[in-house]
Amino acid sequence: MSTPVDAERAWQDLQRIRVPQERVYDELERSASSGPGATYTTAGIMWLFIASWGLDLSDRGFWLVLAGYVALLLALAVVANRKTRVRLHRSRHTWRSFATFIAGMVVTCTTIALSGRLTDSLHLPFGSLIQATLSAAAFLLFVGPANRWAMTALRSRGIRPAHGEEATR
């Protein structure tokens, strides 16, 4: 036997759906804003990796440091994943999420390349330390605003007004 549902009850149910979905976006925003520790740790690891370029390591040494760098980043990702209480469904991501990821790589790589060129051309002492500091700073300055920009779009995409509500506004 089917449950009779009138339009008012259906309307209330549609409103009810929005509430738990808002909680998901609240949690994502909370974890994005309350986790500067992971961002600083990532920047710190990056700083160490770039600074190690100034040690004039052998090829083998360079690859070892690179492997250590990647392993540390992976470990950081695993720890962050364990702390996560919810993961947004892939259909809810927007182009901004991917744009932020790509732009982050572009900004960081460009800063590494430009600061390396600058320190080389000016023959600055401790060039790799300057390069590491500038690159880590660019990363830190970029991550916060870019994440907020991406998060805003996620919520507005995810909590769209129900079809029909839009028309009645």
């Binding site: 089917s2 449950t3 009779p4 549902v5 009138d6 339009a7 008012e8 259906a10 309307w11 209330q12 149910d13 549609l14 409103q15 009810r16 759906i17 929005r18 509430v19 738990p20 979905q21 808002e22 909680r23 998901v24 976006y25 949690e27 209480r85 919810v86 993961r87 947004l88 469904h89 892939r90 809810r92 995810g158 007004p161 129900a162 079809h163 029909g164 509500e165 009645t168 506004r169």
Partner: protein, 128 residues
């Protein structure tokens, strides 16, 4: 009074609708997160989850052991399809397309904006 196609009796109760709506926005969610978000007790949530799991609407994975044990809940493709169908059926009723359109139009659907979230949150809690 009959209901439009896609209307799901299993999802229809308020608590289950809230659980499925939350999971629909996620790849997976932690049991504790669902419990806290919906202000449910462990046993109440567990009961609803098992009902939905038996229907094949969601999967429950337990990871780790001891104090680090955590339970992840994921909506299956079948559950997601059912939820989408249910939402479409509700919209059809509100729009007056479904057979339930013969009912009186909703107070909120006659040209006013939907109730604010805080109000609906209160309503959701009150209706449990």
């Amino acid at each position: 009074m009959s209901t439009p196609a896609g209307f799901d009796e299993l999802i229809h109760p308020a608590t289950r609708l809230s659980v499925v709506a939350l999971l629909a926005a996620t790849e997976w969610a932690d049991f504790a997160f669902i419990r806290d978000s919906l202000s449910l007790s462990d046993s109440a949530l567990s009961k609803q989850l098992h009902t939905l799991e038996e229907a094949g609407y969601l999967e429950i994975h337990k990871e780790g052991g001891g104090r680090k044990r955590r339970t992840k809940v994921r909506l299956t493709g079948h559950g997601r399809t059912a939820f989408d169908g249910h939402v479409a059926a509700l919209r059809a009723i509100v729009d007056g397309v479904g057979p339930a359109a013969s009912a009186a139009p909703p107070a909120g659907a006659g040209g006013t904006a939907p109730a604010p979230l805080s109000e609906t949150a209160g309503h959701a809690k009150a209706s449990r």
